[in-house]
Amino acid sequence: MTELEYLERAEGVREKLYRAALLTLGSESAAVDAVDEAVYKGYLGYRKLREPQYLETWLVRILINVCRDELRRRKRELAVEELPETAGEAFDALPLKEAIRRLPAQLRDVIVLRYFTGLTLEETASALELPRGTVSTRQRKALALLKLDLTVEEGAS
């Protein structure tokens, strides 16, 4: 992949990355910073990418890890706490955007990628480096907690 190709494809995927970052981190400026960081890390490593056709999925994976780092940093500052999977009623009471942010991280990543970034089940599994079945299980759990009735086809793109 050439540098120009990387720059064009990274710029092209920025809005998808932004949606995932905004839902995970909750603030516009933090989301823009996270996208910048992910695209920068991608720039440093795209030459070593063995399957350039999966650049977008790879960038999503980097972004998820950037967001996790940021959340870990915030956790030390006692920011937003995740709710456990058992807190069904608490999720019901929250607006959808807030409920997604407070999902356990494993479930939140799946729901953000599947239904707000437009990744397929296979792409989500690849981005999160998980078996397809695990993604499917987490997707089912997350949708149940959020009381969302979305079919497989309803992933937004």
Binding site: R14, S29, L148
Partner: protein, 433 residues
Amino acid sequence: MNRQQEYWELIRELDQAPSALDGTALRAKARAKRRRMGKRWGISLGSAAGVCAAFVLAVNAMPTFALACANVPVLRELAAAVAFSPSLSAAVEHDYVQYIGQSQTFEDTTLTLEYVIADQQQMVVFYRTDGGWPYYSASCKLKDENGTLLFGYSVGSTTSSEDLKTFEIHFKELEEIPQNLTMDVKLWGSAMEGNDQQLDHVFTFQIALDPTKTAPAVEVPVDQWVELGGQRLLVDRLELTPTKTALYLEDDPDNTAWLQSLDFHFIDKDGTVYETIDSSISGTGRAESEGTYTYYLQSLYFVENIQNLTLWLDEAVWLDKDVEPVTVDLTTGSYTGTLPEGVTNLSAERVESERAGTYGVVRVSGKIEHPPLKMEYRDPEGGTHNTGGFSMRDDRADGREYEYLLQNYAWDTAEFDLDFTSVTAQPISIPLH
């Protein structure tokens, strides 16, 4: 509005991306270009003249460094403070010490920052305390000259009763270290080691770093793929600074396990071995994977003919990417799940004690050199807990035993994540041609 309507409303809201997002790829390119130019110190060498040149060691004029230390009181004290560290000893010997000499007093405590050894990997700060406690440790936050907080570094400090103490600032992702820094230092005092109490005060120092005493990093490309335990690793490069050596690795995306830790050393043709980890940090992870792919060792900066060294990768510790947690039952002593390679026994029980109340104990033993379980664990309702540590004993018939205590834990079962799944101990050599 029901959840479905909320979903589509949210999709519409998220479609309106801010204009600040435009140009993200070009920003990445510009940032990478700055990185390639090196971590800059912000001023020209000439303008630094006289800033902090009060500390001149002139050890090169002496027959040996040891003799120099014996004859100069300041050097003797510094040499004692860095004796544990071959890297810092070499940095002192090669005149990479910057004199600070600033003191501040709050109530009955005086903090003096004496010296700094700084390079692009880390800054080691030597300080002195005069106050009511026998032991002190310190931490700090860094700001640039505009007062903006800096990020991308970590601070390490051990509690010490030595006269000259140190703390380390490890620059992980901070790319441009300003020449003029504000250092907000907090102190912890204690009557005994490990029983620290924070002093309710921030000591603020303005520091001007001297670029002439900050050697630029040297990159040594290696660029060699190796196979360890069925996993492929690219040994990419070394980065040498006066205070440490960084070894950068890359993994193959097809690997089935993350590299958790790596033991390695260098040896030259005369048999001199370089194997000391003399920094408070031995490795760092990265954003795009869960493993640890950057490792630190004593500095090779002052080693002549680096191409005569051979890198030996001695032992790699792996964690399978598809690893599943292990669930222990404190009532039956049983467990479900797969334990790390080498583990021969896991027992679990609930203990009731008049003094300590009710707690759970999980013991894991076998031919294992590394702790098998992470300290954070989960109850059946999804709540997270932490063992806060583990104890280890080597007198078991089947090898080493690790014991984890589950304090004030009311549930019958607990779910633990593994800390590793397998270990590869088949050394591989890589000559640095």
